[in-house]
Symmetry: none
Subunit: 411 residues, 2 copies
C-alpha cells in the first residue's frame, strides 16, 4: 500500500499538520489520536512535532479490529462503558497547555453491520465521557487541528470500482491537493489561503448583513443572521493565544444564522452521507426558522429521524460560503467525510451553533447566545446547498440588496 | 512474520493472559499497554477480555519509531517531559476498579545508540509521572499482569545468527513454553504450577528466617529479611479480592529484604539489560544495606547512574529464589528481559519493595513498611545472582543455619 501514497507529499502533510494546523509551540505537549491505519502519518507528525520543539508527543491509536471485537464478543453492559479516565486525563493535559491533533481516515462503514442500538449506546457513553475534554476544544481553550490519512477502507468506499492500491492513490492525491501539500511551499500556500479567507470574513463582518438570500434551481431561501454574528474562516486564535488552522483542509467562511429567521425553500446540491446512509435530493421548506416540510428521493426516513433528534435539529446552527471553484468542489468527489465534503460547496448545518461565530463569543453565556438567535441541539449536520448555479445576496438592515455570490463565485 | 508464530498457541496465550494472568472479572474495565509490534496479541487479548465479560478494553500502544523520533529531533527540554495526564488517568481508572495488563516484546536495544544522559532523564521523568498509577499496582490494589509477544527486534537480539523469521519462531516457542501454552490445557497446567510454588512459600513462611546467606564464585552476601516479611510466589490475591498471576511466566518465590541489613559482596551471574544498555559482570559491595562500591566490566556508567537515581536505588527491595533447573534457566537463553531472565536464576532487586511481601501488607502504611525494613525508590531493577554454583542458607533469629539451596537447587 505504501507505494500508493507519495512519501514526499505525506511528509509535507505532517509539516502542515504541525506548523499550520495545530501550530505547535516550542515546549508544548501534543496529544494525537489516530486510527491504527494512519501509523505512517503519525510517525511523520511525531518527528515534525519534535523538530518544532514539542515537549512530549503522546499518540493514542484506535484499532478497528479491537472496536469490532467488542461488538462480536462483548457483554450487553459493555456498551454503556467508556474510558472516562482517558478523556479526563486529556482534559487535564489541555488545562496544562497541551495541544490536540486528530487524524481521520478510518473505515466510515466499520459499524454499518452492527446492532444500531448498541452502536448508539456506545456512542452516547463515549460522548458523555469525552465531554470534559471536548469542552476545552469546543471552547477553543487550546490550539487544535484535524487532518486526514488515506486509509484503504475509506478509499474503497469512495472508489468502489478501483483496486485497493489505485483507490488509495486517488484518495491520497485528493487529500494532498485539498491540504495544499502538492504545492512547492505548502506553508506559504496556507499563508496566502488564510489571507484570502481573512479578506472575505473582514468584508462580511464590515457589512453586518441582516440576512443572506440564496436563489437557484429549487432554491429560494432567506437565512437571517444572528444578532452580533461574526464570520470566521481559516486560521483563528485560541484562548491560549495560539493561531491555528483547526481543519486541514478548509475552504469555508461561516457564521451563525438566526434560529427563528429562516424562510423559504432549498434543494440540496449533493447527497448527504449520514451514519452509513446516503440521503439524496433533499428538499426542505422553512418557516420562521423551523423546517416545516422535508422530502428526499432516497433515505427520507433517515432524514425525518435526523430532524426529529431534538427541537434544535429542525433549525440552523451554521451557514457557510464556499466558492464553486474551490479545489475540493472541482475534484467532483464525494468523500463521505464532513472535513472534506463541507468544503466543496456553500452549506447550512442543522443543529448546534458555534460560540466563536459571535462577536466576543468566548464571553457569552449559553443564554445570551440563545437570546441573540444562536441555535442549540445535540446534532450538527452540514448539508450542501451551493453549486455553480446559485446566487447569494446580502440583505442589509435597511432591506438593501448587495451581491455576495454570482453563479457560485464571489461577486 | 505471522507464519513464524503459531496462531493457536498465540490464541492460548491470550486466554492465559486474560483468565490466568489478570483474571479479569465480569464488568471489569481493562487497560492494556503494548508495543505496536504486539498488535496481533493485543487483538486476541481484547477479544478474550470481551468474552470474559470486560467492561471496556482500552489499549495504549507505544511505537518504537515515535520513541526514536524524540531522540532524533527533540529539543533538550523534551527529555524532562512525560505524559503525566495519561498516568494520572490510569491511576483514576485503577481507583475505579479497572484491571491492568502490560505486554512486553519491544526492541530491548532500541535506545542503545542514544545519549545515555537523555535516556536517563526521559526514564526518570516517566517514572515520576507514572508514580500515582504504579503505587496502585505496587500496592496490589488491583489485579494486574504482564505477558510477552515475540517482537522481531527482540528475537534478532536473542538470535543474531538466525534469519528474522527463524528468530521470531524460536522466541515465540520459548515464550509459549515458558508461559505453559504449549500444553494441552494451559489453565490446568498453571493451576498445578501455582500449587508447587505455594508449597515453597508455605515452607519459607513457616521458617521465618532472619536472613539468607548467598555463597558462590565472587559472592558472599547476607541479605537480612524485613521484619514481618512474607514469601510470595505464583498466584496471589489483590486488595480488590481478585487472585491473579502478575507475571506470565513466573518461576520465582520472593520476599522483602531489610533495607538496612544487607552486607557483603555479590557478583551478577548474568548481564543486566537496562534501558537499552547491557551491563556486564556487575560486582557490588553492601554495608548496612547500602551499596558502597559498584563495578562492571561494561556499562559501569549506566550502573552508577542507576544506583544514583535516588536514595533507595542503592538498597534492596526484593530477594527471589529460582531453582537452576527451572525451564527458563534450562533453556539457556538470555532474553534481555526481566520478565524471563529473573525466572532463570535467584535474583535481588534494587529499589522499591512490594507491600504484598509483608504479613498483612495490604493494611500497612508506607511508614510502617519502612519501619519494618521495606525499601522505597522510584526504581525496581532485578538482577541475577544465582547459578548452579550458588548455595543459600537460611539464618534463624538465633543464628542457626539451615540449607535452602545447594548448587542452585532446593536443598
Ligand atoms: Zn461548515
Ligand atoms: Zn458545520
Ligand atoms: Zn523477582
Ligand atoms: Zn523484581
Amino acid at each position: 500500500m505504501d507505494s500508493a501514497i507519495d512519501p514526499e507529499k505525506l511528509a509535507k502533510l505532517a509539516e502542515v499538520a504541525v506548523n499550520v494546523g495545530v501550530a505547535l509551540q516550542p515546549g508544548q505537549d501534543l496529544i494525537l489520536t489516530a486510527p491504527m491505519v494512519a501509523l505512517p502519518l503519525v510517525r511523520l507528525i511525531a518527528a515534525a512535532a519534535y523538530r518544532a520543539g514539542a515537549g512530549v508527543v503522546t499518540p493514542i491509536f484506535a484499532d478497528e479490529a479491537i472496536a469490532l471485537a467488542r461488538y462480536q464478543h462483548g457483554q450487553d453492559a459493555s456498551f454503556d462503558r467508556a474510558p472516562n479516565w482517558l478523556y479526563n486525563g486529556m482534559a487535564e493535559a489541555f488545562a496544562n497547555g497541551a495541544a490536540r491533533m486528530a487524524i481521520v481516515g478510518d473505515n466510515p462503514m466499520l459499524l454499518a453491520g452492527e446492532d444500531p442500538a448498541k452502536v448508539a449506546r456506545a456512542g452516547k457513553a463515549n460522548s458523555l465521557a469525552y465531554q470534559p475534554a471536548l469542552a476545552k476544544i469546543a471552547g477553543f481553550d487550546i490550539n487544535w487541528s484535524i487532518c486526514s490519512y488515506p486509509g484503504e477502507a475509506w478509499a474503497r468506499q469512495m472508489f468502489p470500482d478501483l483496486a485497493a492500491d489505485a483507490a488509495v492513490h486517488r484518495l491520497a492525491e485528493a487529500i494532498f491537493a485539498a491540504s495544499r501539500v502538492d504545492q512547492p511551499d505548502p506553508v506559504a500556500a496556507w499563508g496566502a489561503h488564510n489571507a484570502g479567507l481573512r479578506k472575505r470574513t473582514a468584508w462580511l463582518n464590515g457589512k453586518r448583513f441582516a440576512a443572506l438570500r440564496f436563489t437557484g434551481p429549487g432554491t429560494d431561501l432567506t437565512v437571517g443572521l444572528a444578532d452580533g454574528h461574526e464570520w470566521q474562516g481559516g486560521a483563528s486564535t485560541a484562548k491560549n493565544g495560539v493561531t491555528c488552522n483547526a481543519n486541514i483542509p478548509t475552504e469555508e467562511v461561516f457564521t451563525t444564522p438566526h434560529a427563528l429567521r429562516v424562510d423559504g425553500f432549498v434543494s440540496a446540491t449533493k447527497p448527504l452521507a449520514h451514519q452509513g446512509s446516503l440521503i439524496e435530493n433533499i428538499q426542505v421548506r422553512f418557516e420562521a426558522g423551523r423546517i416545516v416540510e422535508a422530502k428526499a428521493s432516497k433515505g427520507e426516513a433517515v432524514l425525518q429521524k435526523l430532524i426529529d433528534s431534538d427541537e434544535g435539529a429542525r433549525r440552523l446552527g451554521e451557514v457557510a460560503l464556499v466558492p464553486h471553484g474551490s479545489p475540493i468542489s472541482q475534484s467532483g468527489l464525494l468523500f463521505y467525510n464532513t472535513l472534506f465534503d463541507e468544503n466543496a460547496a456553500c452549506h447550512i448545518a442543522l443543529g448546534q451553533c458555534y460560540a466563536k461565530c459571535f462577536v466576543d463569543g468566548a464571553h457569552l453565556s449559553p443564554e445570551q447566545i440563545a437570546a441573540q438567535g444562536g441555535n442549540s441541539s445535540m446534532i450538527h449536520v452540514d448539508w450542501m446547498i451551493g453549486s455553480g448555479q446559485v446566487d447569494i445576496d446580502g440583505i442589509g438592515a435597511d432591506g438593501s440588496l448587495e451581491p455576495v455570490f454570482r453563479r457560485g463565485e464571489w461577486a
